[in-house]
Amino acid sequence: MTNVLQVHDLHFSYHGGISALRGVSFEMCAGDKVALVGPNGAGKSTLMLHLNGILNGHGAVIVGGQRLTRDNLPVIRAMVGLVFQNPDDQLFSPTVFEDVAFGPLHMGLSMEQVESRVQSALEAVRMSGFRDRLSHHLSVGEKKRIAIATVLSMDPQILVLDEPSAGLDPRARRALINLLRELPITMLVSTHDMNLVEELFPRTIVMDEGQIVADGKTKEILDDEKLLTAHGLEKP
């Protein structure tokens, strides 16, 4: 299997000098579905913002064999689809169509290509009927799906989701889980939802205080109660 994502010895501090990442290294193969868990402030979101170069720390982020630099940033951003936790941050256009079309349009694709990309992205998240709706009038669950569609339309190699199930009612959560299961794409998902982790992800990475403290089979990690309590997690 080829590595689609390699992160090597990543360090990062925010302006205040708080060390958010302290030497993070891991790899992901094509087709991997990996959960990223850990308490608030562990550095999960910070790590995710590094994967498409929104933040730049010390160390290496290698996507599809290319090391992320200032020059290939736009190309990397097409390869890494980052979905923010709050869909209101993600959606900045008046209509669903315009938001999903933003990525492909920015990439300079032709109108026919954009049209078909939007079509298939909306189909993938089962929201085909919503293309002309106003984004800010959707429910949270609908917004989350559209937010995922906005990056699927760029045809990314890896999907990076920040707490996708937070704030969803049971039905919307179930729909989202089914959606994530069916999407045939490499994904890294940060979450506090341990049931989701158990159900969906064969592999889990545990982060705490800016470091990876465990990386392995989800079942083994969830069985290690000492590890879970040490890092403020609970067995589902």
Binding site: R77, F84, Q90, L91, F92, L105, H106, G108
Partner: protein, 263 residues
């Protein structure tokens, strides 16, 4: 991540910091008014105004040059006055050609322009000192005590409160756009400037829409807690003898400035 570029209060222990905010607001307004009323070319009075400002700086314990360092930011706004150079009748000094006009700078025009620059420069510095030595809620409170209509003080207070929220929102929208500003390998990305301007327009519209909806929610939350039109406060602002004395001295000094300027 938080946006705190607007917070200009400088914590310190000084005579000015300890003054009641009402005194600071009143003296600042009087000082600005006085600057505006001084006649063109009242150089000596301008000089004394500047000394008054330096004294205030000194008493604030922030350093004599504190406001000077921050005052340059407001200078571009004073350039609006540049038209007076050409529009006041007087003895012509020099003429130059600009696009399709012949512009003549007159001595009276120059005199007024420099006077306006000095006035605005002095006034801005005193305002900078005010916000550096009084916390924003205290300034609002002082305005209320000084009989500024509560609708105005409430608007200012909310503007200040939600400016940060709004700036955070802008920051997150920009980050989301950046995150999806992608390129296909070997292809020019970003389309036309017109398209990008359209996107920016959409984002501004979204921001307005969200602020509008947020204001509804905030207002409902206020009503839910019994809001009736003004804020009650338990802030124990009291005027002491020193406050009265300082106000009196400062106002006398400003009156003297006016006398000097008109002699």
């Amino acid at each position: 991540m938080h946006f705190d570029a607007f917070d200009r209060y400088h914590e310190s222990e000084s005579f000015i910091h300890r003054l009641d905010p009402r005194v600071k607001v009143a003296v600042t307004v009087a000082f600005i008014l006085s600057n505006a009323l001084l006649p063109d070319g009242a150089w000596i009075a301008f000089g004394f105004s500047w000394l008054f400002l330096l004294l205030a700086n000194l008493l604030s314990n922030l350093g004599v040059a504190f406001t000077f360092k921050r005052s340059l930011i407001a200078l571009p706004f004073a350039l609006i006055a540049i038209t007076v150079l050409f529009s006041i009748p007087g003895k012509p000094l020099t003429t130059f050609h600009f696009l399709m006009w012949d512009l003549t700078i007159t001595d009276m025009g120059l005199l007024r322009f420099v006077s306006i620059l000095i006035r605005s420069w002095l006034s801005v510095q005193m305002a900078i000192l005010l916000v550096a030595t009084a916390r924003f809620p205290d300034i609002i409170h002082a305005l209320e005590h000084l009989r500024v209509p509560s609708i105005l003080t409430t608007i200012i207070a909310f503007l200040y409160r939600y400016l940060f929220v709004l700036a955070d929102e802008v920051f997150r929208l920009l980050r989301a756009r950046e995150s999806r500003s992608a390129a296909a390998p070997g292809q020019k990305a970003g389309r036309s400037i017109l398209w990008r301007a359209g996107i920016a327009g959409h984002m501004a519209g979204q921001l307005f829409l969200r602020s509008y909806e947020r204001s509804d929610r905030v207002y409902n939350a206020m009503l839910a807690r019994g809001y009736t039109g003004h804020f009650e406060t338990i802030n124990p602002h009291e005027l002491h003898r020193l406050d009265y004395l300082t106000t009196a001295l400062a106002l006398i000094a400003i009156l003297l400035l006016q006398l000097v300027g008109r002699l």
